[in-house]
Symmetry: C2
Subunit: 358 residues, 2 copies
């Protein structure tokens, strides 16, 4: 299986960030699993019930109220109400590595039986031996066969089944929760509040679009047609009379950084009214959104809670947030302090298995 | 301005089909403008009011009823209700040339003042002299600079303004109507009926997505984020502190034929429930839709009305329909006979200017 090396380099940035991260000290990562989060808030008339009543919550509520007040100076017509959300670190946790990298590693282990040559081929050998440091030490070039072997060479429906099965069982290495139990309750409250006010909610992630679509509708209430992400090329083929889309080992879009507005333009075709991110990978998305005419809101989720989640920003290889903090004031972006602004972090009580952990 | 020739070849198929058409006899094209269509039907409780009560209308109404009957064997959940529509020849007229080619020709004329060299450079020279036959005689290679000069080298917002202005004033060479007055009233009724039953309606066209988005929301009620089409690459740039997306002379997706399912997968991420097309360019879209499990409906709009519109199918360079007719029975696709199934063709009374025509 050959991989288009030049065009595939960018999509590996995510995996590599995790890789370099694995080789260095984790930024204020909790040594023990975070304490049990409160049970998810019951549906309530109060909007953003899981948020503390601070400046961030008030700014968001005020913006929604202003843009939906018919006849007001900031009224936005229903069809223009588009809100875009980064996924990793904005809607769910991204430490100590992007969930999609954990998926790729598990896929290598699952496929090893069909690939005896991996026992002696790097980086597969190191992954199979649990030596992540060595596996990721070779950089982009060395990781490409892993992405190709775990994400391509199958049909879109086969990939969807694989992701669905994995996401239903795989658990986070620290919290032992299902990954879908590590979505942020305050963001679910926010999604519900926006939708209740006529906003269409979209995900715009550097992660793979087909890695998200199988579960985000169930977990976030966001349908597949409102998910934008990185993607490989696919090819239409008729096999034994039935059509399939074959996933090719060539990147079609790496939807990170300056490509987030590109992905938004391709899929949505107009500027969002609101944008939510957590890292400098979201900078251009916030810039594109908030530099348009009319009322716009840019929001940064700042990971400040080393006790209940993780605390990281300028120095973190995953979710690095530097330029966003430097320019937030000048650009009028709202920064959410997870520690003080959020009553709870995760969306659901941990599973029994997690509760049994020390 | 350089054009990526290899990757751009496919997108030109549409323009070329029109080109070869211009050089041959039009298939049963009306010699005089079609007669004045009935005024658009007033909103009515009767669904598909502009359709005659034939097999096609009944098949569509029955399918919608079955798939929305809660508890019935063919019930489709609201979030799965996706209907996709080709544009040229399915939602509006495509004869005697694709509207987008008329746009490109008009753009050459509008830009000629800035390009004195075009007076002596083919195919610009021929276009400026109104000699379409010569202009299109050189085939794909010769047309590429025209596409590049008229569709790229500007920002997405500049292109949107140009399209909006053009579509508001340009008139069809035969009917003298605004092009947006050449959309099919029966299809507007159908779109309304589907949306009234919880279906999300999408356009999936080989035409340029940015050529459609500026007007389809107003005309069809389909928002930009539900429009899939061919597209060029765009690049995010910050100019004088403000971000833009620059349109590059390189094709990113040619959303025709086997690439229609690719475009559907990229943007929607699940199989449609219903698909509507009119030519073999829509074959794979109908195949992809109707070969999935569960209730599916494929519909072909057959251009059979040489009096009120145009009659063409197997032999037409534009909108060729051959394989679709050959396999309709085997695949269970519904064929709409425009002459007998539609009470009216166009959506609105012609303008004063058109009424003054002989």
């Amino acid at each position: 299986m050959s991989l288009d090396r030049r065009r595939s380099r960018v999509i590996l940035a995510a995996a590599l960030a995790a890789g370099s991260h694995a080789a260095c000290d984790a930024p204020r990562q909790p040594a023990t699993p975070p304490p049990v989060a409160a049970a998810p808030a019951a549906p309530s008339a109060e909007p953003l019930a899981s948020w503390n009543d601070g400046a961030a919550r008030r700014a968001i509520l005020d913006f929604v109220a202003r843009t939906t007040r018919q006849g007001g100076p900031d009224f936005v017509t229903p069809e223009q109400r588009i809100a875009v959300f980064d996924n990793d670190g904005t809607l769910w946790a991204e430490q100590p590595m992007y969930v999609q990298l954990a998926f790729a590693i598990d896929r290598v282990k699952a496929l090893a039986g069909e690939h005896p040559e991996w026992k002696t081929t790097q980086p597969f050998k190191a992954i199979l031996e649990g030596d992540l440091k060595t596996a990721l030490a070779g950089g982009e070039e060395q990781l490409m066969p892993v992405i190709a072997a775990t994400h391509t060479g199958i049909t879109t429906e086969e990939f969807e089944s694989i992701v669905s099965e994995w996401i239903g069982a795989a658990r986070h290495p620290v919290t032992k929760r299902l990954y879908t139990e590590m979505v942020y309750q305050p963001m679910l409250d926010l999604l519900a509040h926006l939708r209740g006010n006529g906003y269409k909610t979209f995900i715009v992630s550097g992660g793979g679009v087909e890695f998200m679509r199988p579960w985000v509708e169930r977990v976030y209430g966001i349908p597949p047609e409102q998910v934008i992400g990185s993607r490989v090329k696919v090819k239409y083929e008729v096999r034994a009379g039935l059509p399939v889309l074959a996933r090719l080992p060539e990147v079609d879009l790496n939807a990170d950084k300056a490509n987030k507005p590109v992905g938004i333009h391709q899929a949505i075709g107009r500027r969002p009214t609101m944008a939510f991110g957590n890292s400098d990978g979201d900078f251009e998305m916030l810039e594109w959104t908030t530099s348009a005419k009319g009322p716009r809101l840019g929001v940064i989720i700042h990971h400040t809670d080393a006790t209940r989640e993780w605390a990281y920003d300028r120095g973190s290889p995953i979710g690095r947030l530097q330029r966003g903090l430097d320019e937030r004031e000048k650009r009028g972006w709202v920064v959410v302090d997870m520690r003080s602004d959020w009553k709870v972090i995760y969306s659901s009580a941990p599973s029994r298995r997690a509760q049994n952990q020390p």
